[in-house]
């Protein structure tokens, strides 16, 4: 006597070439992969938004810019002690890079892209947040360097801003030259946002560009002639890096210009604007939104 009649019957049916069995098998073969696909892709991490990093010397207006971009009106801020991020959406008046691919007669509504804006503290002791975010953030699409247009008319502030900018650009250059495959090194454009243009003593964007370039020339000259770092000589490090690794831009050039950064796929543009307008409303930031739209 067969031990279990029901299972025997069922097994016979399953392996027989009856049409019902074939249909069931077909359905199973087709539906199970689709089910598995849904399950896997539902639990996958959400799509990573493009990230834009905000850096700059202390007092430039980075946190105000973050609040303006995120909520539409700038809130009151004080010195930041820790980084923060916010999800922002480009306003409808801004054209984005995907507009290139739209036909002119296309009247369907375009959805404005969203991106993550990452704000870092500008104080000297807390700059490591910015420098580590540069290297570690995935999907980093652009960098905004915010500085105070009125403060850079003094030599000390100009030097501080230029040194920070020099460090950032050097990091980007090293990232580009040190990339192992061509895939990793995405180009990261840099926007130098000259903030507080509404202040009476502010300098125009073109003048800021010239002054920054002149100051960076001096900074890279003194850096190259300065003392070696303690971390370099003492380890018996071989060579300590070649000479042109620490030199920003074109090696051996007399003056630094932002177009020298094009070699590393780093586009630098200088645009003025102001975060705070009259009576606590937002100011003129259209130039910056345009740049963001082109990048995201």
């Amino acid at each position: 006597m067969p031990p279990n009649n029901v299972t025997m019957d069922w097994a016979t049916w399953a392996f027989s070439p009856s049409p019902s069995a074939i249909i069931v098998t077909l359905l199973a073969v087709l539906l199970i992969p689709i089910l598995v696909h849904y399950i896997l892709y539902k639990t996958q991490a959400p799509r990573v938004l493009p990230t834009i990093l905000l850096v700059g010397p202390s007092g430039g207006g980075k946190t105000s810019l973050l609040t303006l971009f995120a909520t539409g009106h700038p809130s009151q801020t004080q010195t930041s002690q820790s980084p923060q991020s916010a999800i922002c959406q480009t306003p409808s008046s801004t054209s984005t890079s995907s507009d290139r691919y739209r036909s002119e007669n296309d009247t369907s509504a375009r959805d404005q892209p969203t991106f993550t804006l990452l704000d870092t503290p500008g104080h000297g002791k807390l700059r490591h947040h910015a420098l580590s975010s540069l290297n570690s953030t995935s999907a980093l699409k652009g960098l905004i360097f915010v500085l105070d247009s009125a403060a850079v008319s003094s030599a000390a502030n100009l030097t501080e801003a230029a040194e920070y900018l020099h460090d950032i650009l050097l990091l980007l250059q090293k990232r580009h030259t040190g990339a192992k495959t061509s895939k990793n090194a995405q180009p990261i454009p840099v926007l130098i946002a000259a903030n507080k243009q509404d202040v009476f003593t502010s300098l125009p964007a073109g003048l800021i560009k010239q002054r920054l370039e002149a100051e960076i020339t001096k900074v890279r000259a003194t850096r190259s002639k300065g003392l070696m770092d303690s971390g370099v000589g003492m380890e018996g490090d071989v060579g300590g890096g070649s000479e042109d690794a620490e030199w920003l831009g074109e090696f051996g050039s007399a003056a630094f210009g932002f177009e020298q950064m094009r070699e590393c796929d780093v586009e630098v543009s200088v645009v003025g604007g102001n975060v705070r307008g009259e009576g606590g409303k937002g100011g003129k930031v259209e130039g910056w939104w345009e740049w963001v739209g082109g990048v995201v």
Partner: protein, 690 residues
């Protein structure tokens, strides 16, 4: 009364702001609090007042005092600003209450959405109610806040304190204590009259001594009014002693934050009386001689003030128009107070009670602890952190970090990590190491890195060119002359003309030593055709400060044409930091030579003495106004010498920076001219954490 109250996130966004002065408080006051206390963590020496270690820290800037508290897990800071002249005792309580209520209401939202997504305008009325509850009324301002972020005027009007019918009785009790004892009776009579008049007129605002009274321009002159010169008496007092009497009230001890004493007001103007020597006498003759009564009255009134405050608060909040809101708030606030008392009790109980007892209990707790340690996601308590932090402290001390600095670092790591969750698959140890590396990086990173060449080239450039003066100080035998020659070599390589000044006129052979160095450097620079170097010396026995001044004048060569040298390097004699006579001569040296940079050399081999050395040297360099130079730190940088002899134990770096806040600029790594390096913070932290 408060000047301003702000709630902000650690990332810089202001969530709630209430300002009580009509031009709003300038933001640089709060920014300097954040800079000095939170970021740079300037601490006064432990021997000074206990204000920094007390649970109610305070920060003074210009004429304001700031008190704060922070909610670390949500990332919020609560700051109250008031004038230093007022001694407000209820601000601490207000801060705790506001913190409790705010975190209770908005804490989750802030945590989830960060500072941008939170709208805290409805907090305005609640805040006003809390201020009413805490404010003892002696320095209450006229009406509620003048301006606020998003608060509505009607809301404030509704909440102003209890209606006239209930307040008359209390008002009379509250008012008199505020005024100092100038013939107490008449003044309190005045107070009563004021109260009765104003309650008659308006229904909402309680009668307040007007704001002008609460903050006279020059408190000292007013307070001296009641300790007045004695009249002629038997025999004339000399002019000097009489002047002394007039000005001595200025040294009247002040309680807390220079609590002010309001003078009597109003009524009739007092007649000015002049004595024979031309000094004005104020006040009644009777009151003048009765010194004991005045001070006893004052003390009594102050005590009276505090006792009154408690009573008034309890009674005032339950009656009147604002009843509805305040009652709700009372429940919330009482709950907060009760829970905080309970927390204190349980924490006290925790420290005395043992863990789970019995063999089974301890094994399971150990196993679960081990499990949690591996998997991560554990919320860290004080007990968890105690043992690993102890080990970390020992580790740091083994690396030659001074005990004071190690304790401070460990306590800052503890405050950072308390009640935080460990990440996934990271043990407690790894979390602590990570946090300690961050704390070390933060201490060692300078606020602005020194670019010596840049500063020099800027100073010797054409419009008002002058030589750049650098001087080196330190205790005996740390390597000042050697490191000075290394710096000279570095500058020579950069085509600068250097003048080496033999400022050590005491030690035998010091001048000859420098002469040999200069001879070597001249030879080297001649071979490589760079720069030029000379020695300036005046032999032994002269005053070092005058030698330095002459050297700078010689290098500047003013009036006779171009300056002869670009950089002046001044060597000084080594001196023990606890020898006050020698240390005080450094101040004079600083004034006469007026160096652009003062570097102190410390050797890496020194142990715990490094902290005392750094502090004593830093406090000597004051400028002519008595302010420490270089933004109040004293010196411009440390040069840590003999780093090649200590291997991994470079803890002296941390000790010296901890003691003074001055950054490390150079490291000496050998005994030849080229053995000078800048500081790489990552390298130093690696060595310390190895």
């Amino acid at each position: 009364m408060l000047d301003a109250f702000t709630i902000l996130t650690t990332s810089g966004i202001v969530l709630f702001d209430r300002s009580y002065t009509s031009p709003k408080l300038s933001p640089h006051i709060l920014n300097s609090l954040i800079n000095d206390v939170f970021i740079e963590q300037h601490r006064p020496a432990p021997s000074s007042t206990a204000s920094s270690t007390a649970p109610n820290p305070s920060f003074k800037k210009e004429k304001y005092t700031l008190r704060w508290t922070s909610a670390r897990d949500v990332g919020l800071i609560f700051v109250a600003v008031y004038q230093s002249l007022l001694g407000l005792s209820w601000v601490e309580e207000l801060l705790q209450l506001v913190k409790g209520v705010f975190v209770g209401r908005y804490g989750d939202k802030v945590k989830k959405e960060g500072g941008t997504g939170v709208d805290c305008r409805e907090f305005g009325p609640t805040f006003d109610a809390l201020v009413e509850r805490c404010d003892t009324g002696t320095t209450r301002r006229d009406g509620a806040g003048l301006s606020s972020e998003g608060g509505s005027e009607e809301g404030e009007g509704e909440l102003t304190p209890p209606s006239s019918s209930a307040s008359v009785g209390e008002g009379v009790e509250e008012e008199p204590p505020g005024l100092p004892g100038l013939g107490g009776r008449s003044v309190s009579g005045l107070g009563k009259r004021e109260v009765l008049e104003s309650t008659g007129t308006s229904a909402d605002v309680t009668p307040v001594p007007t704001p002008e009274a609460s903050r006279p321009g020059t408190p000292m002159s007013k307070s001296s009014g009641h300790l007045v010169t004695a009249k002629g008496g038997p025999g004339k007092l000399s002019r000097r002693s009489r002047k002394g009497q007039v000005t001595s009230p200025a040294s009247v001890a002040s309680s807390g934050d220079e609590a002010i004493k309001r003078t009597r007001e109003g009524g009739a103007k007092a007649k000015r009386r002049w004595d024979a020597d031309g000094f004005a006498t104020e006040g009644d003759d009777d009151a003048v001689l009765d010194y004991s009564a005045a001070t006893a009255d004052n003390a009594g009134e102050e005590r009276e003030v505090e006792v009154e405050a408690v009573n008034a608060g309890d009674m005032g909040s339950r009656t009147g128009k604002g009843q509805f809101l305040l009652k709700d708030l009372d429940d919330e606030v009482n709950a907060i107070i009760a829970s905080s008392k309970q927390q204190k009790q349980t924490s006290r109980a925790d420290t005395i009670s043992d863990g789970p007892s019995g063999l089974l209990g301890t094994t399971t707790s150990k196993l679960s602890g081990l499990f949690r340690n591996v998997i991560g996601g554990k919320t860290l308590t004080k007990d968890d952190l105690r043992q690993p932090l102890q080990m970390m402290e020992t580790h740091l001390i083994e690396k030659n970090v001074a005990r004071e600095a190690a304790v401070r670092l460990c306590s800052s790591v503890e405050t950072d990590l308390l009640n935080q969750k460990t990440g996934s698959f990271t043990s407690i140890d790894a979390t602590i190491r990570d946090s300690m590396a961050k704390a070390l990086t933060r201490i060692l990173t300078p606020t602005s890195s020194l670019d010596l060449l840049r500063n020099i080239t800027r100073t010797i450039e054409k419009p008002d060119a002058r030589p750049y003066v650098i001087s080196i100080v330190g205790v005996n035998g740390v390597g000042k002359s050697t490191n000075l020659s290394k710096i000279a070599y570095f500058l020579l390589q950069n085509q600068l003309r250097v003048l080496v000044v033999a400022g050590d006129t005491f030690r035998s052979g010091a001048v000859e030593q420098l002469r040999v160095h200069v001879r070597n450097l001249t030879e080297l620079s001649r071979r490589e055709r760079v720069g030029s170097v000379e020695l300036f010396e005046k032999g032994y026995g002269k005053d070092a400060a005058t030698v330095a001044r002459d050297a700078v004048a010689f290098a500047t060569n003013s009036g006779k044409g171009e300056m002869l040298y670009d950089v002046v390097l001044i060597d000084t004699a080594g001196r023990r930091h606890n020898d006050t006579r020698l240390m005080s001569s450094l101040t004079k040296f600083g004034h006469l030579a007026n160096p652009d940079k003062i570097f102190m050399v410390g050797e890496a081999l020194v142990g715990t003495d490094s902290v005392a050395q750094a502090r004593n040297f830093a406090k000597e360099f004051v400028d002519t106004k008595g302010q420490l130079r270089n933004n109040g730190v004293g010196m411009d940088g440390f040069i840590i010498s003999k780093c090649d002899t200590v291997g991994d134990m470079v803890g002296t770096l941390v000790s010296m920076v901890h003691a003074t806040g001055i950054p490390v600029v150079f490291l000496g790594v050998g005994q030849h001219y080229g053995d000078l390096r800048g500081l790489n913070v990552g390298w130093a932290v690696d060595k310390l954490m190895k």
